[in-house]
Structures are given as C-alpha cells and as structure tokens.
Amino acid sequence: MMGGNLQASPFVWNIMRNRVLLSWVIAIISVFGIAFAQNDAAAIKLRLAQSFEQNGDWEQAAELYEALFLSYPQNVVFFEGLRRGFTQLKQYDKAIDLIQDWISGKPGNPSMLSELAGVYYLKGDERKADSLWQLVIKTDPRNPSFYRIVASKLMEFRLYDRAIQLFLDARKATGKSDQFSEDLASLYSVFQQYGDATQEYVTILNTRPDQLQSIQSRMSMMISRPEALLEARKVVETEKNRRGESIPLRRMAAWLSMEVKEYSAALDEYRVIDKLTKASGNELFAFGQTAAQERAYEAAAKAFQEVVEQYPGGARFPFARFGYARAREETVAGLDTSGSRAALPDPAWPVSETPQGFGGVLRLYEAIINDYPGSDFAAQSYFRIGVIKQERLFDLDGARAAYEKVRTLQPHHPLASEASLRIGQVSTARNDLVDARGQYLKLMHDRNPDIKQQALAALAELDYFEAAYDSAETKLQIFAASSTSDLANDALQFLYFLQENKFANPSALASFARADLLMKQRKYSEALAQFEECMRLFPNALIVDDAKMKTAELKLLLGRPMEALESFSGVAAQSLSILSDRAQMRIGEVYESQLRNREKAIEAYERLLEKYPHSLYVDKARLRIRMLRGDAL
C-alpha cells in the first residue's frame, strides 16, 4: 500500500512496472492487430476488386478501388485500379483529376504523364493528348525511354503510323540511326512494308552482326510471302552494294538467294565471304555441302571445284575433291534440281552438262584413290566407282574389282557390308549364283539389321531363280512377320506370287524364273525369248499373264513401244486376270510418257476407270486424266 510512504516496496515496484509493461505490450499488439486486420481487409477488398475487374464488372470494381484508394492514397496498386475503373466507365474527368493529383504529388513521372495524355485521347481531346505526349518527349528529347513510353501508348490506341513517325523522330533527336530498329521492323512488317522492314533488319545487322541468326529467324515468317522475299532481296542487294565488305550482309544475301533456289547467286556471295574472312575455302566448302544436301548439285560441284583449285593445301582439300566428284556424278546422272525448281531462271546453270559424262567422273575418283591410297576417301571412291560401273556402265568385272577394294581397304567399315551386298548383285548379274549366295550368307551375320534384311531378300530371290521355292517362302515369311521392314510389302507380294504358281504349275514357274534371271542380268533379248517360250509351253498356266507383262516391259526397254502396247493390251483384255488393271494403267503410261499421245493416254486411263472402278490404280488414273486435261487441281 502506497499511503504516506512514497517509496513503494521493490515487490510493488515490480508489479507496477510489469503492469505498465504489459499495458504497453497490449497497446502495441492492439495497434498492430488493428493494422493487420485492416491490411487483411484491404487485401480481401483488393482481390474482390480484381475479380470484378476480370469479370468485366467495372462498376463494382471501381467502387472497391475507390474505397481502397481513399484509405491508402499512396498505394500505387489502388491508384492504378481506380484509374482503370474510371477509364473503363468513361468517367474521363474523374480519371484526369485522379492522375493529375497523383502527378502533382510525384512530379517527374513521364509514364503517368503519358497515361494522362491517353485519357485525354479517350475523352476525345486529341490536341491536349498530343501536347502532353510532346511534353513527355520534351522532358528529355535525347532520352530513348521517353519515346518508348509515348510510342507504347500510341500503339495501345492503334496509332501505329504515329508510333512509326515517333520512332523516326527519336532517331533524329538522339542522333542514333539504329535506334528502335527492332520495333520499327515489327511495325513495318505488320503493315506489309517489307522493304522498310528489311531495311531495319539490315540496320540491326550492321550494328550487331552477331544477331544474324536471330534476324533470319524473324525474317523467315515475313519472307514466306513471295512479295516480301522479293522486296527483301532488293533491299539487301542495294545495301550490300553500298557496303561490299559487310560479311553479315553477304550471308544474308546468300541466304535469301537460297530461299529462291538461286544457288549460283548464293555461291557468288560465299566466294566473296570466303575471301573476306580469309577462310581458305572453308566457307565455299560449307556452301557446297549445303547445296548438295538441297540437291543443287551443279552449284555444289562448282563450290567444291573452287576449293580444290584455289586451296590445294587446305584441310578441306580431300573432302572437297570427293565432294566435287560426288556432285559431278549426280549432275551427270541428271538429278540436278536447282535449275528446275528455281523461281527465276538462272542463266549460269544449265540443267545438266559435263561432256565427259561418267568417264570424267570415274577419273576424278581414280585420282582421289591415287592421291590418298588406303584412306577413307579411297574406300568411298572405290565404292562410287563400283556403283557407276555396275548401274550405269554395266561393267560387272570393273564393278566387282572396285567393291573388292572397298572390302580390302576398310573391312570393318559399314561400306564393306554394302560392297558385299553389291558384289552379290554383280555375281547374280554374271550368273555366278553360287558366289552370290556366298556373299549374302556372310551378310546374315552383319550387325546392321538393314543389311541383313537386304541379304535375306536377295537369298530368297536366289532360291526362286534356282527353283528352291520352299526355301524362298521360308525366308519371305520372315518379312511377313515383320511389319516394320521397308521390304515387307515387296516380300509379301513375291511370297503370294510364289505360293500361287508353285502349286498351279511349278514347271511354268521355273521357266518364268529363268527368264526373270536373264532380265535381271540385262540380257533383254534372251529374257524376252525365254518369256515367250514360257508362254508357248504353258499357254494355260496362271503365270502367263505375268509373262505377258514382262514381255511388254522388255519390249519397252528394247525400244519397241508399239509391241509393248500390244502385249499390255493382251493382258488388259483378259477380264479375269488380276493384272488387267495394271496392264491398262501401263497402256496409259506408255501413251503418256513414251509416245506423248495425250488423247490416247486419257482414253486409256478412262477405260481403266470404266472397266475397273475398284482398282488400286483408279486414283492415280484420275489424277493423270485431270493433269492431262489441264484441270486446276
């Protein structure tokens, strides 16, 4: 008890001090508690307002934002929400007042000034809006950010033309000619001003040459339109002529040329690039590879040739030599597509040339072999020599010798297995079936499943030639069980052919097989005679129609199309033959591609449609008719 004793006991002091402390604690907790409670309530209100906003219920949203803003006038989130609300509700004067108050409290805020201008624009006061946007720019005319702030607002109101002009003005003001290039490129592209867009991309490239790939990627979409590609090429060409030493520009020009399949123009660029970068032929070589991949063999050959001639000591030299020979081989084989597919004719490149033909190609490979004996190049060259001799020149001895060399040089290389496969084919062509079988049997242990399958198919064929039909069937049935094999369809067809004829008339089948073998050996006249003998000896055999089809094909190979047509017609006339529709189709094809008789071809195809409406060939026949008729497809 305090009473007249002024000095309380320590115990009492403690109690009193604790009470005061406790009161303070309670007071502080209360304050924070209220604050937290208020913050919680505000957070809930904010979420509610945002939900209303998302649902498009602006009245409710604005009401909540207003309440929140009144309670927390410095809170930018509430301010922004209320601003949006007023704008959406077209309460532009309120929005203007709100923003102006905000700006007055926080001067030097170009974003907010731009927003204010936006509200004036919505209100319809374009003059005021413009003056405010100008004010933003005038705050610091050399500051690109301010231009971006205003441009962004202009684009929001779809004033794209003005945004473009603003960016262009910014360049003058900042003195940076590459300012806003990416923005301008996008805008021009949207407006289909492809030339201007390309000019901007070129500007970016000039200042940031490492961005070439990124620019190409962005331009890819644009140049999918032919008119855009044309414009882009013009601009790049002009710029390239102005800045001849610019490597990125040259690369871009080359890329655009390849887009229109003008490989010779692309090669011109790579020639220059190679010199400018002192690449010693590496750039040319890389282009040669790209062109070869795109089957532009003429251009590829030219590129490789230049590497060979100009950089004989370079690391790429042997690769280029082989590349050149390979490209030449394809060109001679008439597989060049760069001339036929180019949008514009390329006068530098006829479709096929090289008066030397395959002879010249062989010499190229032989030279590689001489200069790089025992190397991988030599092995590859031997292989190519083998292929040319086997398939083009039918020099079987020469082909075999070349393939043997491959096996000797690179016994463990995948090419060695390929070479063995081809030796088997050569042996078959030379009528040495024992040797052929030996080759294929060895390949049955090859690690490459494709090689094994091809060997198996070849063994089945040998069995057929040697009248070992059961053995052939067993092998073919292995394919039938494997639906993933590329050879499955052909194998199945062959299997059914064997099964059908083996039981019906094995002698006829044997006779047919002998003729087939002669045909495979390219002994066409003998094969023809043998098929005709087969038909004479077994006129009622099931296999006769197959024989007729073969004789027809042989007559075509022997340059006797009219006789071939007669044979096909013989089969087509057999209404019960399963080959009639195919024969009828072949009649149409012979008229179309060999005899170039359009009317007869159409007539033949129409006959197929009429006689065999359920044939597998009807779709193809219809397509041919439509093409020959000139129908727009």
């Binding site: 998302q54 649902n55 498009g56 602006w58 009245e59 704008t87 959406q88 509700l89 077209k90 919505l122 109101f157 779809r158 794209y160 592209s189 949207v190 407006f191 289909q192 979409m221 129409e606 449609l609 009429e610 409406p613 009807v618 779709d619 219809r622 008719i625 439509r626």
Partner: protein, 422 residues
C-alpha cells in the same frame, strides 16, 4: 465447255421421255463419294443440263438424262452411278411421286452463282464451306466488305459467310492471341479497310456489312453461315447503334448499358440473348451452348445430333436441307458449337438438334423473299479445331454426313421454283 454443252443438249433432246435412259447418282451408303456427287450435279447444271433431286429417295439421289460425257465425268471424279433404262426410270419417278411415300422430285435448273465473304488473307482450308466447295469443284467468288457495301451481292444467288466476326471484336481472340503476328496484322488490315470505306470503327463498318447482307436476303438471296458467323451476325444486327466493343477493339470503352439497348427485332434468328462483353473471354453471348470459355469437355464418341424429318411434298425446303444418308450425325465443336433453343425465334425452323438437350445444331429461316440457313460448329470432320491446326483432308471424308448438310445448301438455290410450294 461449249462443245460439251452442245453434245449434252443434243443427247438430252434426241430421245423421248419414256425411252430416255437415265443416270442415277445414288446418295445412300452405296455412293463412293457423296461430296463430289454434289459437284457433278453442279457441273451438269453449269452445262445447262437438268438434274432431278429425288428427295428422301436413297439418301437424296440425283437423276439426270444419261450422256456418255456425264458418265465419264462421274468416273473421273470417282462418283458412283447407275444406269436406268426408260421403263426403270419411269417406275422410279412413279415410286417417288406416290402420295403415300414421303419422297418427291425437285428439279434443279440453274447453277447458282456463289459468293463467299472472306477477307483478303483468307486460306480456303480455314473454312469448312470453302473446303467443301473446293473438294466438290464448285466454283465460287470471293468478296469482301467493299463488294458488299457497293451492292455487288445482287449479282449472286448464294452467299456464304466465312468465320467473320460481325461485332468487330476480331473473333474474341484477344485474350490468347493479341500479340500473335496474324492477329495484329488482321486488326491492322481491318482498320485500314474500315477507314478506306469511310468508317471510323471496324465495328461500325461490319454492322453496315451485316445490314447489306440482310438486304440481300430480303431481296431473295440465300445466305449460309457456320460457327461464329451465325451468332456474331445476329448480335451485330441487334446491336445497331450500340457500342459493345471494348477499348482494345475500337479504341474506346463500350456502352455500359449496351445489353439493355439491344433491338432483337433486327436480328434474324435469335432473341433475348445476353451479351458477354468481357474482352478476355472467348464468347459473344449465351446463344452459344455450351460456352466456349472455358471450353467444354465433351466426349466426341457420344456427341451426336439428329436430323429432323420433314414432308418432302409439303416442306420441300427443309427436306432438301436435311438430305443425308444417315439420320444421326456426329457432332463437332466450334467457337459456336450449338444454338440455345430458348433463344431461337419461333419463326425459325429447327432442322437438327442434340436430342434431350437445349442444343440446336442446324436451323433455317426466311427473311423477306430470301432465306438463311445456319449450321453450328466449325468443321464436321474435326471435332475440336484449334487455331493453327492442319486442314481437314476431304479425300479422307468423301462420305461425310456433316459435310453433306453444307452442300445441300449449295444446290438448294437451284430449285427456286419448287420453293413456292411452301
């Protein structure tokens, strides 16, 4: 072509009716290519031939005088046909026209001139109707706003509306695609066009186009629309003079009282619908059922709709429009998947619906001297088509019952005289 016309005319006139052989293109399950069959019929009409449409006979078959050139064309196009001699043909006519058979013969006399309303950047594979027309080899002309507003629609008999958004909200793709190049380019293109034609806003221009189209119908034209070209069209008509577009579409916020200001007397098929004006939602109104935002999860295996049967003799028009080789058709979705039944005006004829639900899939109505037919969904052979999906290959859907409904509408204007029965 002229040579064929002469040959055809000679052949058609040379035999007497009783002895004349006929070529029947069956449209039941025996037909190898239903869609190209419409093309053959159209081809014959273009050659000034005559085709009889046998309503409800073997799926709505076509019958014409036999001519070798016609038979050849059928073969080339892969269309099955049968040859009937004179007596068989006479018996067929008698059967179809018997009073106790719900069948009838409608003579198609003139190939209608077809216009498709599409923007300049249009690709034929973007739209089921143009896909069908291209596949069936039925020629059409592309027109756009300038042609419509300058009165060129009067040169055509049949108008198809592409998936245009007549409300001026760019298909309501804003939420997901506003930064996509195609979206931005499209908006720029439309704005430029509107400006060039003298309109401050795209929405105003599109409303003018909608009105011009309505006038075309009123003066005897035929209009066909699918997917969102249906409800957006009607919304545009009802919202004449009312701003329903948000700021990102037309530069200013919409009228807050827009819903209350809609005039349903102006629309063709729908009334009392509620707009969805949220720009972030991929939906126009509650006409569409189920709503597209969020997209409904439906089982394509159980989504079917039923075609109604009409009297061929007394209601030839809806009968023509519902010719098919099946009665129950597989459903398919779209921005507008189906029409909410209770919002359809009573003057409109419902041609097909999903039984037991509020979903109407196909409807038809009259306006003035013309008619309109609307078909909900985007692509009958692509259940749920998304932006950027590969196009449907109709070579794989030659017998599509859903696509047949589209092509029924193409031939129907060729039968003008018959319509007078209703």
């Amino acid at each position: 072509m002229k040579q064929w016309t002469v040959i055809l005319a000679f052949l058609l006139c040379s035999g007497n009716a009783a002895g004349q052989s006929k070529l029947l293109i069956p449209m039941d399950l025996k037909q190898s290519d239903h869609l190209k069959s419409y093309g053959v019929a159209f081809w014959l009409l273009e050659k000034e031939g005559v085709v009889d449409w046998l309503l409800n006979y073997r799926g709505g078959s076509f019958l014409a005088d036999y001519a070798e050139v016609l038979a050849r064309e059928c073969r080339i196009r892969g269309v099955s046909f049968e040859t009937l001699d004179g007596s068989a043909a006479a018996a067929l006519y008698a059967e179809v026209q018997r009073d106790d058979n719900n069948m009838d013969v409608v003579r198609l006399e003139k190939a209608p001139k077809i216009a498709v309303y599409v923007p300049p950047n249009f690709k034929p594979w973007d739209d089921a109707v143009t896909l069908a027309l291209e596949y069936a080899e039925i020629p059409y002309t592309k027109i756009w706003d300038e042609e419509v507003l300058s009165g060129k629609l009067s040169e055509y008999d049949w108008l198809h509306l592409h998936h245009e958004d007549f409300t001026g909200q760019y298909g309501k793709f804003y939420s997901n695609y506003r930064n996509a190049q195609w979206y931005v380019q499209q908006q720029v293109l439309y704005e430029r066009e509107a400006k060039r034609l003298g309109y401050r806003k795209v929405s105003d221009e599109k409303k003018a186009v909608a009105l011009a189209i309505r006038d075309f119908i009123g003066q005897g034209g035929f209009m066909f629309a699918m997917c969102s070209a249906t409800d957006s069209y009607d919304i545009a008509l009802a919202a004449g003079g009312v701003d329903i577009c948000d700021v990102m579409f037309d530069g200013d916020p919409p009228d807050r009282d827009a819903q209350g200001k809609l005039n349903f007397a102006q629309s063709l098929a729908f009334e009392n619908f509620t707009l969805d004006m949220n720009p972030l939602r991929y939906e126009y109104s509650d006409i569409d059922i189920p709503p597209s935002d969020p997209p409904a999860i439906r089982d394509p295996e159980t989504d079917y709709f039923t075609l109604f049967e009409f009297s061929a003799k007394y209601d030839p028009v809806p009968t023509m429009l519902t010719q098919d080789h099946v009665n129950i058709v597989r459903g398919f979705m779209g921005q507008t998947t189906a029409f909410r039944k209770k919002l359809i005006k009573r003057t409109v004829v419902v041609l097909a619906e999903r039984e037991g639900t509020e979903e109407v899939r196909y409807l038809h109505g009259n306006f003035g001297r013309g008619t309109f037919t609307w078909y909900a969904g985007h692509d009958p052979e692509d259940y749920q088509h998304q932006v950027g999906d590969p196009p449907t290959d109709l070579n794989l859907h030659k017998n599509s019952p859903g696509y047949r409904l589209i092509l029924n509408n193409v031939l129907f204007p060729a039968a003008k005289k018959k319509q007078q029965k209703t």
